[in-house]
């Protein structure tokens, strides 16, 4: 019993004020990593992997020095390695006056200073650094039994390049999106913000995966408290595997049991740049095109970057359409259930007659009818996602037209219910953020049950519970419902419900603590 309780506690309760900290396991190879740096030991550690290649040769200086170049086949740019490392050292520099001075004691310094070209080249003296560098795609040169080595940045692997992101397509605006390669992503960001205050700080996470990630922010704008909190939370993560953004997201967010997303994500460099300029902090993880951004407020999930590329009035209209979409996506089935079950007096008589006629022969109460249809919709959506694209579309058409029509003809559901569920499905696609869309889908079910049991009273209670929950959430210390509560009128009228023209956007979002609140914007 006690062990069950302990397990339950471990699974559910996180220590207050701290992130979940797990003790990192130790692996047998870790012992080798603490030994003094040596090419032979590195070879011992990595030679069992067929993709790691070791090229041994002699450097003919004042002394004949045995060298090993280690790299991972597939991660390193072979051409670069051959042309700019092996060829100079083995062929081109033979007889060079500088090479003639080389002995085992000065080989590292002379090689660094005079022999090898290249921008990313540095000296290391730790075994772990050497192994990490090789496995990350760099090349390392070991000299004899020296405890120092040289790392040369010669990474080069196949990547899918810069393409338009699938999840954030826009009509008017840049088309480039992040990719799975960290450095491509940082370069895309750097192209957007050419200012020395842009900080890109590298970290590694995951004991086994050794995943590279960078924390990026603008030093002159981002709040130092938020930046240090991001580092603190990232620093407490101890896990074997760090395969992508979702791992980090759950480990650093404030309330992991909330259905509502507390960390924003994007695949677009322009969005990240815009958010960094608002004072947010970005987290770019190698191996995923998704970039995380913190802190975030609820209303920002309903805004899209295209709002800033459109004229202000058009953007305002689009925003209101999205708000209505989110409202309909969450509440349309519940309102239908509440009205048809409890509050028929709201419906005009003609419509009431037509609803009654449509429901004739339907054996289920409105709640059950709506649940059946909503679950069917969820199944169709899930199936459409998993199936190959052409078949997925077919499934959508089959589900919507054939099953819906057949269900109405068989008197399993009323025609109005099919319309309501169809409207709900369409409205849910108006929610621009996938995570928020999922939360809305999830909330729809308890709201429907409450409406079925208690009518509008149940809907009201459900809405107030959701509101209190949202009010109690924070994202890195920032109240989640800002700037609605705590209320900031200027922020509300500047860039929340409406989007003021660019010349009027003189301040960064006020609900976040930023170093420099003014952003210009004067005409």
């Amino acid at each position: 019993m006690r062990s069950w309780l302990k397990m339950f506690k471990e699974l559910t309760i996180r220590p207050k004020g701290e992130r979940q900290i797990r003790k990192s396991p130790s692996y047998s190879s870790d012992e080798n990593l603490t030994k003094p740096l040596s090419g032979q030991v590195v070879k011992e550690i990595l030679s069992k992997s067929s993709d790691v290649v070791f090229r041994e040769f002699f450097l003919q200086g004042k002394e004949r020095i045995p060298c090993i170049v280690a790299a991972v086949d597939g991660l390193v740019d072979k051409n670069l390695l051959d042309q700019f490392i092996l060829k100079p050292l083995m062929v081109e520099l033979v007889g060079h006056p500088e090479l003639a001075k080389v002995t085992l004691s000065n080989v590292v310094d002379i090689t660094l200073q005079s022999l090898l070209p290249g921008l990313e080249i540095k000296k290391i003296s730790k075994m772990r650094d050497a192994v990490d560098a090789i496995l990350s795609g760099d090349s390392v040169i070991f000299f004899g039994n020296l405890t120092e080595a040289i790392v040369i940045g010669a990474r080069g692997w196949a990547n899918r390049g810069v393409v338009e992101p699938v999840t954030e397509t826009i009509v008017k605006g840049p088309r480039e999106g992040f990719s799975e390669t960290l450095r491509i992503n940082t370069s895309l960001l750097r192209r957007k913000i050419k200012h020395p205050a842009l900080r890109i700080i590298s970290l590694k996470l995951g004991d086994m995966t050794n995943t590279d990630l960078v924390v990026t922010y603008i030093d002159k704008i981002a709040s130092p408290d938020i930046v240090s909190e991001v580092f603190r939370r990232l620093g407490t993560i101890k896990m074997d595997s760090m395969q992508g953004n979702a791992y980090i997201e759950e480990m650093i967010e404030d309330n992991p049991y909330s259905p509502f997303p507390q960390i924003a994500f994007t695949e677009r460099p322009d969005v990240l740049a815009g958010k960094l300029l608002e004072g947010k902090v970005g987290i770019i993880v190698d191996g995923t095109p998704i970039v995380l951004m913190v802190p975030v407020a609820f209303m920002q999930f309903l805004n899209v970057n295209e709002d800033y590329y459109q004229r202000a009035m058009v953007a305002i209209l689009s925003r209101f359409v999205r708000y209505i979409g989110a409202f309909v996506a969450m509440l349309a089935p519940s309102i239908y259930i509440a009205v048809t079950t409890f509050h028929q007096e709201i419906i005009p008589t003609d419509l009431l007659m037509s609803i009654s006629a449509g429901r004739q022969g339907v054996p289920f109460p409105a709640l059950l009818e709506a649940l059946i249809m909503t679950v069917t919709l969820e199944i169709l959506q899930e199936a459409g996602l998993r199936l190959p694209k052409p078949i997925g579309q077919t499934i959508g058409i089959v589900g919507a037209l054939i099953i819906g029509d057949a269900a109405v003809k068989a008197s399993l559901v009323s025609p109005l219910m099919v319309i309501i569920i169809g409207l709900t499905a369409v409205a849910s696609y108006a929610i621009p953020t996938y995570d928020l869309g999922l939360a809305v889908r999830l909330m729809r079910f308890p709201m429907m049950i409450l409406a079925g049991i208690l009518g509008f009273f149940g809907v009201s209670v459900g809405l107030y519970v959701i509101l209190i929950h949202l009010l109690s959430l924070r994202s890195f210390g920032v109240p989640y419902l800002s700037p609605i509560a705590p209320m900031r009128i200027r922020a509300l009228l500047q860039d929340t419900f409406v989007r003021a023209p660019w010349w009027a956007l003189k301040r960064r979002p006020q609900f976040m603590d930023v170093k420099e609140p003014r952003s210009g914007g004067k005409r």
Binding site: F342, E345, L454, S460, V461, S472, I484, M487
Partner: protein
Amino acid sequence: MERISPHQFMTLGAAVLMGGTFLPLATFVTAAGGRDGWMTVLPGLAVGIPYGLMVLSLFEQYPQQNLLLISEKIFGKWIGKILGCLYIFISGYYGGILLAIPGIIYEQSIMQFTPRWVIYLGSLLLVLYLVKTGIEVFARFSEVVFPIVAIAMVLNIGLSIPRIEQGELMPILSEGLKPLLFGALKVIPFPMEYILFLAGILSFLPTGKQELGQLKTGVWRAVFLVGILDTLVVLIQILVFGPAETIRLAFGFLVLGKMVEISRTIAGVESIFLGVWLGVLVIKCCAFFFMTIWGIATVFNLKGLKWNVAVSAVFLGIAFGIANRFSLTKEASFMESYLILPLATVWIPTLWGVSRWKDRDGV
């Protein structure tokens, strides 16, 4: 320590002051002041302003302490404790009555067949959730809900304009000024409830000099905002129903909601309005829940989940004890006129006066 901003103080104060006042107010003031009853609402509520300023003046003198602690300091331990016990009793009992209001109005209007205890439990769930999340979230909740309530009231009033019969308001002041005095007396207990809430929330207010000025402005704003809204509510009922019918209808504003018809298509939107009113009723009930637990924590140094559960049980017990609308009105009037009004009108000025006297004489 949780803190609320001056703006939150204003909206929370306004929401607590409003509470469910807009539902029975028209009946009370029209019964006492006749067709001129609407004129008594704002002056009656404005009585709360000097009291509010007195409370804030005491807060300035004794920062980060609620009025119960200040009373213990000024009057001595035992008188302070007795006042504290009275405060707990009043807030606990009146809170239970407030919990009964949603049950009774839902039962009377749109959910006749739903057991009342379900409504009580639903409302109590919201109150407990707010209490659990703390005063900051409660203040933010009021920041969101109060504007919605104000908009819904204006909508309800606006949509009732086509039914106005101007003759109902005439002749103005036909009975002289005396009925206005009686009408105002009926309103005065409502600001006193707000003042008692203020007495408890003091320890969560900001203490800066500039913020103190904003808090004082917040009291004025809250009273005038609610005063104007409530005046409009009473006025529209008199104009639509006439004085006699306004007195007869206990919750006339709900009836107005029921009568709303938009272009002969959407009618009876009272169920939607009721959802909004539920929010403000929950705020007031929650305010009294907070007052009760603050009182228990201050006087007996007892706090925690089990005391919250105990207070919930008391609230539920009192709510269940109220049989119908008439006993609700009776109990609420008794509490307001014979306990809340005397306590606040005597306690606050006395405390303020003694503290000023002690301060001046260096006692």
